[in-house]
Symmetry: C2
Subunit: 428 residues, 2 copies
Amino acid sequence: MRIGIIGVGTVGGGVVEIIERKRDEFHAKFGILLEIAGVAAKTEEELAPFKAKGYKGFTDATELLDDESISVVCELAGGYDLPFKWIKKAIENKKHVVTANKALLAKYGNEIFPLAEKKGCHVLFEAAVGGGMPIIRSLQEGFVGNNVESLSCIINGTCNYILTKMATESLSFEEVLKEAQRLGFAEADPSFDIDGIDSAHKTAILASLCSGSFVDFEKIHVTGIRGITAQDVQFIQELGGVVRLLGLYNKVGDKVDARVHPCIVPSDHLLASVKCELNAVYLQCDNLGPTLQTGAGAGRLPTASAVVADLVSLARSVETGNLEPLPMGWFQKDNSAKLVPIGETSTRYYFRFVTKDDYGVLADITGILGKNKISIESILQKNTNNREKVDILVITENAMESSVQAALSEIDSLPEISEKSKMLRFLS
Amino acid sequence: MRIGIIGVGTVGGGVVEIIERKRDEFHAKFGILLEIAGVAAKTEEELAPFKAKGYKGFTDATELLDDESISVVCELAGGYDLPFKWIKKAIENKKHVVTANKALLAKYGNEIFPLAEKKGCHVLFEAAVGGGMPIIRSLQEGFVGNNVESLSCIINGTCNYILTKMATESLSFEEVLKEAQRLGFAEADPSFDIDGIDSAHKTAILASLCSGSFVDFEKIHVTGIRGITAQDVQFIQELGGVVRLLGLYNKVGDKVDARVHPCIVPSDHLLASVKCELNAVYLQCDNLGPTLQTGAGAGRLPTASAVVADLVSLARSVETGNLEPLPMGWFQKDNSAKLVPIGETSTRYYFRFVTKDDYGVLADITGILGKNKISIESILQKNTNNREKVDILVITENAMESSVQAALSEIDSLPEISEKSKMLRFLS
């Protein structure tokens, strides 16, 4: 099977490396031949090491796309608009596509998948979510005997690294971020990760696969981890929990509840044991019950190994058989999921109010919560030795998000409240 | 695709149930039709509820195997010899096979897989290991871009339930076993589970898949959990570990180290968070690094959902394409793995010696360990208030199993030692 690779940076270079290492093994084991027919990159400089090894190089990816001998295109360049153009052209030219580009799929998947289905092309994207973990394959094939009732995922290694380190080393968000940038776990501009955008892309893809309807990542609620304080992480630890940035999917009747925000996870939950840059996907299935997969969600070789798995899968079905692509034509706007607005979701909540230790304030807070039909599970006062800045922790029973927002905004306007209230949702 | 089901007990009944529930969905989603062409069981009584629903019933499975309209046979009866005969006949009749029978595959896989490959038949067995977790599919497809360097699995829910409860409720093995039998987590004759035989079947299958060579379950070292005492579980907990029955695979040069025995797992290891009847498979891959899958390893619907995933996969490749079976012909005796004898393996060890508090005994013990080139990491004396029965805990550095066995047998013959020494291996 002749493969064209667009983008030979971190992941693309890793794909070439693994194919070179494992080509003979794949041939012996499966009778398939993974042949790199050409690589495309922006500059001759990037191409040079690949050309030196004898690969054909293109600085214009469209030339590679016009090579009729190529049956599969790996899009590993990143970005949105050019890759979208390339993938469309590849499919128009009846080439199968393998991509690791979650941002592209979240944004343009609703055009790519229906087009591919029309043209009978496979579009495989195991590497787009969860790096080297085979979660896409598991959702499409392994768990097909189940309905996925809910999904909770740790799907951004940068955020999980930061949140883990904040807890284990009692450091502030800013301190850990700086350290993560120094170690290469966070980008110079980290907003894509820490504001939850990357998690939203991946969550939208997973929620689409789980629901069989198109979940638009631009329409799901996203809160990142900038607002998480060392103080809250510590209090939550004392309460027996850890903070994780989660992508969430719940099937609610014929609607889809999909969101990304920090959550409090009980310390004995499997997701709490997923630390540092590991990713994990936790599913609740109707027949199987709970199940979890965890592994490296990013990085050169983990991600490349998932691309190679897709290539082997394609080579086996393209070269030795004639397997039809998995139907993905439903992944389009006119099959959009009906989303549950975040205001209509409910869970248990953690609030932290910072007050002057005024004896009346507790009555005010509990009064406002009660008026908004928010039942209190427990109240704890912390730092009571400093009368000017007492922390009141409130854990609620199940409450409606819209009521919580209304109550918090009213509480924040109380004169005794000296900081904007902190709120975190429990994993329900 | 017309399916014949042999065995309509717990799992077989679950398969029928899921197919009935999801048939329309599969048809709409994949354009496939899962049609139950007939079911076979030992007695008319077992068949009655299925016949009442209009399914054709056979008390002689061979009649079902002669039905030319059937293209796939699900063997869900359990046992060895009859199922082996049926599966051979199915393959001779050019039918694909789906089975959940790990004991059969461990014993006769070396005849079944080569025969199937010769005849061009698929033999799928996702449900045989890890119940509803898609670990077989992941090893055959998802992780194909990796070499699996090592595998550690919790693959028997009964043992994991017993070991978890011994730790959390400070109960003896016998007490928990009795409770597990009452709750249906353990069989009336539990030896197949607690002596590690079931784990050995599954570990042999996984080790074969990882190594690409035949690992004979009868040749791998197996120790079950009968010898685990509440006292050791408690001491190990104090040391920051938990006891788990693990199936282990390590690639050692061109040899395979495969074993089943209890292990001490550090409390912060992902496998330690796998509790009660959950199963889990932890892999160390060359490109991906560490990865874990966990989920229900047994039970009617979890296991049935894996069988259904295999059926969907077959229907997609059989009905809409012509995918060749995954090569499994290597799974045979003349491609047997070279096994590392357990005596040549090495890891850290936990020993517990029970002695009269004789001041000389420690010198004797450390002398014997030293003579056998076993370095000591730490020594702890416990229960020192009872001078007649002091526990000496020894944690070793990496040591060779054969040296450990030699040392323990010498120590056990010391007059001050009042009970047979306890030994547990650390997960290395």
